[in-house]
Amino acid sequence: MGMTMTQKILAAHAGLPEVHAGQLIEADLDLVLGNDITSPVAIKEMQKFSRDSVFDRHKIALVPDHFVPNKDIKSAENCKCVREFACRHEITNYFEVGEMGIEHALLPEKGLTVAGDVIIGADSHTCTYGALGAFSTGVGSTDMAAGMATGKAWFKVPSAIKFNIVGKKAPFISGKDVILHIIGMIGVDGALYQSMEFTGPGIAELTMDDRFTIANMAIEAGGKNGIFPVDELAELYMKEHSNRPYVIYEADADAEYTAEYTIDLGAIKPTVAFPHLPENTHTFDEIKEPIKIDQVVIGSCTNGRLDDLRIAAEFLQGKHVAKGIRVIIIPATQAIYMQAMEEGLLKTFIQAGAIVSTPTCGPCLGGYMGVLAQGERCVSTTNRNFVGRMGHVDSEIYLASPAVAAASALTGYLTDPATV
């Protein structure tokens, strides 16, 4: 029986000729990641080990990005704990404020994640690197601690769902609409314990930033990982960003899938996930009542990349955000920030009445930089709209693409980008 792309990568890292769905394996890790929320718990766990060492100081990435620059004293203490650990173990890939970015935008940009890798991260959106043809998955702090100490992790080999992507994107459609459409179709547990393997001729129509966004939200369908085939565009990206050798794996022709779906990019419309689950998706033809909003956030590991900022700028160029609407734009990394500055995007945003923050996860998880009050509504390019996610338990989050978010910023209502 053939193997899926994910299974082939796992087999190679477990030193096995083949693996099958459900099998428990121990795999070698190419990278172990943690942030300022999860690393302190992992560092505490590491003290329980009989040895005080890391498996490879070059294969650990520590990225304080959630509550950084420190939002309060407790956050500052957590960051200090991570900084001291990085210093003690001479971790090469520790990213201090000034170098840091939102982890899942930063690591591919720094060339630390490439095709064929097995990567674990103590952050659920670690699945992002599947865009480059890596197996990457979110774990907790104890797995991170064990990974840092031993360079290995246990996995149950996942079965897979195949998404055959065809067609061409319609105007105003980006990766966010594609993944929200898929989550709306299969539900927040539709891919539970499974791989989401994307394939088909439509992949060529997706930019790298589209693919990062799609892979990033595999977890929002319960997926263990999301993974894309490695095409010329992905190779170009890796050659531009990384010196590391990469290995291209392809699914066998007779690989087994528990389900197969065909996704026609041309049929996807701007899609919005209403409160309080990412599966609660609607397209604008279904929205009958105007939805008044208070805030717009454009950023996060899902949508804080250059494509996203460029799309937002197209809408905001020469215009002004609606009166009373707070618009917060967060480039995901310093390099994206710099490029956005050089292209004049930041000026466009500021002239339009938006604010531009340094990289942080801040508002996405209700940390800081845009926490919502009771009854407030936010259109956000982030990834979760759970109860209380961005602040008060009675606030609401509408998850959408940068185009929808920017269009909504101009009108003060949840807005179809085709209408502005």
């Binding site: 080990f49 064990a146 031993t150 314990y193 998880l365 209380g388």
Partner: protein, 162 residues
């Protein structure tokens, strides 16, 4: 721990880690402090009504969302002795095993056991007994490898023992 016995606190589908422990409290790693905010966004009374040994029962996709290990830590530190659900989100599942919080998948038990019922669980057999209704359920047993981690009371101890 080979057995658990306690009163059931019941929740529905898709209980996410943001409601188990909201991110506004993630600036601490202190177990007792995390427990003091456990479940507060969907059940502000939880911290007052939970007793040591109580059992949490929920429907599908329990623990979905963020990878924060603070979520199973908060539940365990609240005194919950076991979580029974129809299904668990995978990172929560791993995290629970890794920190030694017993969890059991059992669709029928998750559906039928009611809030406030007295429930007994035998972890060796996976047998769940609703003492209030007298009905028994067979939960999924762990694969041997995971049982070893649980018996060692967590992944780090297990690795140390190897």
């Amino acid at each position: 721990m080979k057995e658990a016995k306690g009163k059931v606190i019941k929740y529905g589908d898709n209980v996410d880690t943001d409601v188990i422990i909201p991110a506004r409290y993630l600036n601490t790693t202190d177990h007792a402090e995390l427990a003091s905010h456990c479940m507060e966004d969907i059940d502000p009374e939880f911290k007052n009504k939970v007793h040591t040994g109580d059992i949490m029962v929920a429907n599908k996709n329990f623990g979905c969302g963020s990878s924060r290990e603070h979520a199973p830590i908060a539940i365990k530190a609240s005194g919950i002795s076991c979580v029974i659900a129809e299904t668990f989100a995978r990172i929560f599942y791993r995290n629970s095993i890794n920190i030694g919080l017993p969890i059991i998948e059992c669709a029928e038990a998750a559906k039928e056991i009611r809030d406030g019922d007295e429930v007994e669980i035998n972890f060796d057999t996976g047998l769940i007994k609703d003492v209030t209704t007298g009905k028994s359920y067979q939960g999924e047993a762990f694969p041997a490898f995971m049982q070893k981690i649980i018996d060692a009371e967590g992944l780090i101890n297990y690795i140390n023992q190897k």
